[in-house]
C-alpha cells in the first residue's frame, strides 16, 4: 500500500506524523511545567524530593520525544531543518542549552560532591521549564508570523536579522507579541499539566498541604493560560497568512488565511475546541474535586491543541515556515520535503510506532501503578 502513495499524500502524511510527535511532546511538557512549579509547590525538602522523583521517572521520555521531533523533521522536511536550525541559530542554541542542563540535573541534584549544590540544579530545571518552553513556543509562533530569511538558488539560507531567531520574541513588533503569547500559553499550559500530573502520581495522603497547593496551582495556571489562548485564537481568525496561490507554488499574502484554513478543514476546529475543552475539564476536575485523573484529560487535550497548532499553518496550501523578507523563499510541505523514496522508506519505519507506543504504555502502567511516596525518595537510587 505504501508503495502506491503519491508524493503529495506522503508529504501530508509526514507533516501529520511530525505534528503528532510535536503534539505528544507538548503533552509531555508536564515535566517542564512540574519543574517550574518546584520552588512554589514544595516547601520542605521532602516535598521537593517527591516532586523531583515523580518527574524524574518521566523526563527522559519528554526529552526523547523532542529529539525524535527534530529527527523526524530532518528526515522528512530537511529544508525546514536546515533553514530553521541554521538560520534561527540563537533561538535553537538557547533552547538546546536549557535541555542540556536539564538532562544532568535530576541525576546530579542530590548527589554528594556535586560541586554546584542542589539549588543550581533546581535552577537549571526551572530555566528549562520556563525559558525552554517559552522559546519553543515563540519558535512555533513563527510558523504563523514568519521569519527573516532568504534562500538562494541552492536553497542555502541567509538570515537577514542580526538576532538570528531571537527576534521572534525580542523585536518590538506585533508578530513578537503573538509569538510570545504562544510561548506563554505553552508555559502556563505546561504548569497546569505539571500540577495535574503530580496530583496523579504522588502519594497525596503523605503531603496534604502540598496537595492543596498543587490543586490550586492547576487552576491558577489554567486561568493564566486562557488569556493568551484567547489572544492567539482571536489573532488567528483575523490574521493574514502565507498561501500557495498557483500550481507553480507561488506564495502570496492571503487575508484571513488561517480562518480560511479552519473553514476548509473544519475537523481542525473540532480538534481545537475538543482539546481546549478537555484541558479545562481536566484542570477543573483536578482543582475543584478530589479526582486525580485530570492529567489524562489535560494530556489528551494538549495533544489535540498541539495538532491543530501544527497542522493549521501547513495544510490547505499554506507556507508553514514563511519568510517575511522574501515570500518565495517560504517553506511549504511541498518544497521542503524529502524525496518520495525517502518518505516511503520512512513510512515503513513509522509502522513500528504503534509497537513503540504500546511498550511505552505498558511500562508506564507498570511503573505508575503505585504512587510515588516518601519511601521512594529514601532509596539510594532515588534522585
Amino acid at each position: 500500500m505504501i508503495e502506491r502513495l503519491d508524493y503529495a499524500t506522503l508529504q501530508h502524511l509526514w507533516w501529520l506524523l511530525c505534528s503528532v510527535v510535536g503534539a505528544l511532546f507538548l503533552a509531555m511538557t508536564f515535566v517542564q511545567g512540574g519543574q517550574s512549579l518546584l520552588w512554589q509547590m514544595a516547601k520542605t525538602r521532602t516535598e521537593k524530593d517527591l516532586i523531583i522523583n515523580s518527574l524524574g521517572r518521566k523526563w527522559e521520555l519528554t526529552f526523547t520525544t523532542l529529539v525524535l521531533f527534530g529527527g523526524a523533521l530532518f528526515a522528512s522536511f530537511p529544508k525546514f531543518y536546515s533553514t530553521s536550525f541554521g538560520g534561527a541559530y540563537w533561538v535553537w542554541i538557547l533552547i538546546l542549552f536549557t535541555f542540556i542542563v536539564q538532562a544532568v540535573s535530576y541525576e546530579f541534584r542530590r548527589k554528594p560532591w556535586n560541586i554546584f549544590g542542589s539549588l543550581v540544579y533546581e535552577g537549571f530545571l526551572f530555566l528549562n521549564g520556563v525559558v525552554g518552553i517559552l522559546l519553543i513556543g515563540a519558535a512555533v509562533g513563527t510558523f504563523y508570523t514568519g521569519s527573516n530569511f532568504q534562500l538562494d538558488a541552492n536553497n542555502f539560507v541567509t538570515w537577514t536579522h542580526p538576532f538570528r531567531g531571537l527576534e521572534a520574541a525580542l523585536s518590538p513588533s506585533v508578530s513578537s507579541l503573538f509569538n510570545i503569547a504562544v510561548g506563554l500559553f505553552l508555559v502556563f499550559n505546561a504548569r497546569t499539566l505539571g500540577a495535574m500530573y503530580l496530583v496523579n502520581n504522588l502519594e497525596l495522603g503523605e503531603v496534604p498541604e502540598m496537595e492543596s497547593r498543587l490543586r490550586a496551582a492547576c487552576w491558577q495556571n489554567l486561568l493564566l493560560s486562557l488569556p493568551f489562548c484567547l489572544l492567539i485564537v482571536a489573532s488567528l481568525l483575523f490574521m493574514r497568512g502565507y498561501g500557495i496561490v498557483d500550481a507553480k507554488g507561488t506564495i502570496e499574502i492571503v487575508s484571513f488565511k488561517y480562518l480560511r484554513n479552519l473553514l476548509a478543514n473544519p475537523w481542525l476546529l473540532v480538534l481545537l475546541v475538543a482539546g481546549l475543552g478537555l484541558v479545562i475539564f481536566g484542570a477543573w476536575k483536578t482543582a475543584k474535586t478530589t479526582a486525580t485523573r485530570g492529567i489524562w484529560y489535560g494530556g489528551i487535550g494538549t495533544v489535540l491543541i498541539g495538532l491543530t497548532v501544527l497542522l493549521l499553518p501547513a495544510y490547505n496550501n499554506t507556507a508553514f515556515y514563511p519568510s517575511k523578507v522574501d515570500l518565495q523563499s517560504s517553506l511549504t510541505i511541498y518544497n521542503a520535503s524529502s524525496s518520495p523514496y525517502t518518505l516511503k522508506v520512512m513510512t515503513y519505519v513509522a509502522l513500528t510506532i504503534p509497537f513503540v507506543l504500546a511498550y511505552i504504555a505498558y511500562t508506564w502502567r507498570q511503573m505508575n501503578r503505585n504512587k510515588i511516596g516518601i519511601e521512594d525518595t529514601g532509596d539510594k537510587a532515588a534522585y
Partner: protein
C-alpha cells in the same frame, strides 16, 4: 558560494563539532559497554537470588546512571548541530542522513528512555523478570542507537545508495538497504561497539583494582573483575579483527586517509607499516623533506597486506593521490579537480538551460555532467593539496590507537590468569596498571574517532561535499561564541560528573 567563504568560520564550526563529539564520546562508550556488563550482573542476581550480586548490580547501575545523564546532555546538541552549523549539508543530504537519525529516535532512544526508568526504579515496582528484561532492553537500546548513528557516519565516509539530483542540487537516497548495510557501516558498528564493550570492562576493572589495592569490597571487586575481564578479552580480540577489517575498507574507499595515518607520502609496493616513527609535522606533500624525524621502524609488507590483503600490492601515497600516478593507474586530486570543474560547469549550464526552457541544451549538459559527476566535490577545491588531511594528527592518533589496542588483550589475559591462580590481590603492579586502564581505553577510543574524522578532511561527504560548502552561513564570531559556551558548560558538567563519580566510588557498594 565559495566567493564569500569565511574559512575561519568553517574551522570554528569543525572545532565546535569536534568538541561536542569528543565530550559526547567520553560518556557514550561507557554506556554502550557497561550496559551489557550490568545486564550480566543483573542476570546472575536473578538466577542466584544472591543479595551480594544484587548489591553489586545496583552499585554499577548507579555509576552507569551518573554517566548516562551527561551522555544524554551532550548528545542532544549533536543532533541539532548538523542543522545549526552545517545547514547546507543538512539540506543537501537530509534525504539520506536524516533517515537514520529519525530511525534512531524511533527504534532506539525510546527503548532506552522507557526502560531506563524501569531499570533504576523498578526494584520493588515491577516483577523480577520484567525488571531484568528492562536492564537488557537498556543495553539493546543503547547499542541499537549506535547502529543508526554509525550508519549515518559510515555513509559520510562511503556514500553509497544515493544519486545526485541536478534539479534540486541534492543527494537523494536510491537504496535504503545499501545505506543501512554498507560494509563500511557494518565495520564501524562492530569496531565501535566492541571497543566500547572493552572500555566498559576497563571501567569495572579500574574501579575494582583500586578497591583491591585498598583492600576494600574485596569479594565484589574480584567477582566484577572476572565477569568484566572475560567480556573484555573477547571484545578486545574482536576489536583487533574488525579494526583490521576497517583499515582494509578505508584502503579501498578512502586511500588518502590510509596514506595520511601511515605518513605514506610516496606510494610503495610491499609497503611497510610504521611500528615506530616521529612524524615530521612541517612536511608538505609537495616538498622533499623526510616524512619522519630520524629513526623509524617499518614492518615490511604489512601495510600492503592490511590495505589490499597482499604483501606485494601497491599502496598509493599522498603524493600519488594528489598529483596522480599513471604507472599504477592512480588518479590524483589534480586530475579529479579538472573533471570536477567540468562537472560543476555542466551542472551550472544545465540549470541555466533549464531555466531558459531550452530542453535540448539541458539534455546535452546533463549528459556531460553525468560523465564527471563522481568528481563533483573536487570541483569545489581550490588547490589539489587541499585533498590532504592533517597528516601528523591522523598519524599520531592512529598509532596511539593501534599501540594501545594491541596491549589491551594482554591486560585482560593477565587479570584472568591471576584471578584463576587466586593471586590477583598480590599482583600490585597489575592492579596499579589496572586502575588507569579506563583512561588508556578512553585515549584509544578518542584517538580512533580522530583518525576517522580528521582523516576524512576536507570532506564532509567523502569526495562529494567539502566542509567549506557544507557549512551554515554564520560569522565566525557567532560560532566562536557558542564554541566557548559549550566548552565552559561541558567542562563544568564534566567536573561535576567526575566529582560525583569519585564520591560514589569512594562510598562503594555497601552504602547501597
Amino acid at each position: 558560494m565559495i566567493e564569500n567563504l569565511d574559512l575561519g568560520m568553517v574551522n570554528w564550526a569543525r572545532a565546535q563539532f569536534a568538541l561536542t563529539a569528543m565530550y559526547h564520546w567520553l560518556f557514550v562508550p561507557l554506556t554502550l559497554g557497561i550496559s551489557w556488563i550490568i545486564a550480566f550482573f543483573h542476570t546472575i542476581y536473578v538466577r542466584t537470588g544472591s543479595e551480594e550480586w544484587k548489591r553489586l548490580t545496583k552499585f554499577w547501575m548507579k555509576l552507569f546512571g551518573i554517566n548516562f545523564a551527561i551522555g544524554v546532555a551532550t548528545g542532544i546538541i549533536m543532533e541539532f548541530e548538523f542543522g545549526t552549523n552545517w545547514s547546507n549539508y543538512s539540506w543537501m543530504v537530509g534525504d539520506i542522513f536524516g533517515a537514520p537519525l529519525a530511525i534512531e529516535g524511533i527504534v532506539a532512544f525510546f527503548l532506552e528512555a522507557t526502560f531506563f526508568a524501569v531499570m533504576f526504579f523498578g526494584w520493588n515496582r515491577v516483577s523480577k523478570g520484567f525488571h531484568l528484561f528492562a536492564t537488557w532492553m537498556v543495553a539493546a537500546g543503547s547499542n541499537l542507537s549506535a547502529v543508526w548513528i554509525l550508519v549515518a557516519n559510515a555513509w559520510m565516509q562511503y556514500p553509497v545508495g544515493q544519486a545526485f539530483n541536478p534539479d534540486t542540487a541534492r543527494f537523494e537516497m536510491q537504496n535504503f538497504f545499501e545505506v543501512a548495510f554498507s560494509p563500511y557501516a557494518v565495520n564501524k558498528f562492530t569496531h565501535a561497539t566492541s571497543s566500547s564493550m572493552m572500555l566498559g570492562a576497563f571501567f569495572v576493572i579500574s574501579i575494582s583494582s583500586w578497591y583491591l589495592l585498598r583492600g576494600r569490597h574485596v569479594l565484589m571487586a574480584k567477582r566484577s573483575i572476572v565477569v568484566a575481564a572475560c567480556l573484555g578479552l573477547v571484545a578486545s580480540i574482536f576489536t583487533i579483527f574488525n579494526g583490521d577489517e576497517s583499515a582494509y575498507e578505508i584502503a579501498q574507499v578512502q586511500p588518502m586517509k590510509l596514506a595520511a595515518f601511515e605518513g605514506l607520502y610516496e606510494g610503495q609496493t610491499n609497503a611497510g607499516l610504521v611500528a615506530f616513527g616521529v612524524i615530521n609535522r612541517d612536511k608538505k606533500v609537495y616538498d622533499t623533506q623526510p616524512a619522519f624525524h630520524g629513526f623509524n621502524i617499518h614492518i615490511p609488507g604489512l601495510l600492503s597486506l592490511m590495505a589490499n590483503r597482499s604483501f606485494n600490492s601497491f599502496v598509493p601515497g599522498m603524493k600519488d593521490l594528489v598529483y596522480g600516478n599513471a604507472e599504477h593507474d592512480v588518479l590524483g586530486a589534480v586530475q579529479k579537480m579538472e573533471l570536477g570543474r567540468k562537472a560543476v560547469a555542466s551542472l551550472d549550464a544545465y540549470r541555466q538551460a533549464k531555466k531558459a526552457g531550452d530542453a535540448a541544451a539541458a539534455e546535452v549538459q546533463l549528459a556531460a555532467f553525468d560523465e564527471h559527476k563522481e568528481f563533483l566535490g573536487y570541483g569545489y577545491l581550490n588547490k589539489p593539496e587541499e585533498a590532504v588531511p592533517p597528516v601528523a594528527l591522523s598519524f599520531n592518533a592512529f598509532h596511539v590507537m593501534v599501540f594501545l589496542g594491541t596491549l589491551f588483550p594482554l591486560i585482560f589475559i593477565g587479570y584472568l590468569y591471576f584471578s584463576y591462580k587466586g593471586t590477583l590481590e598480590r599482583k600490585k603492579w597489575l592492579l596499579g596498571l589496572g586502575t588507569i586502564t579506563y583512561i588508556l581505553g578512553m585515549i584509544a577510543s578518542q584517538a580512533g574517532w580522530i583518525v576517522a574524522e580528521v582523516g576524512r578532511q576536507p570532506w564532509s561527504i567523502q569526495g562529494l561535499l567539502p566542509v567549506t560548502i557544507a557549512r551554515t552561513n554564520l560569522t565566525s564570531g557567532t560560532v566562536q561564541t557558542t564554541f566557548f559556551l559549550f566548552l565552559v558548560l561541558f567542562t563544568l558538567l564534566l567536573i561535576a560528573e567526575i566529582s560525583i563519580m569519585v564520591k560514589q566510588i569512594n562510598i562503594g557498594p555497601e552504602e547501597n
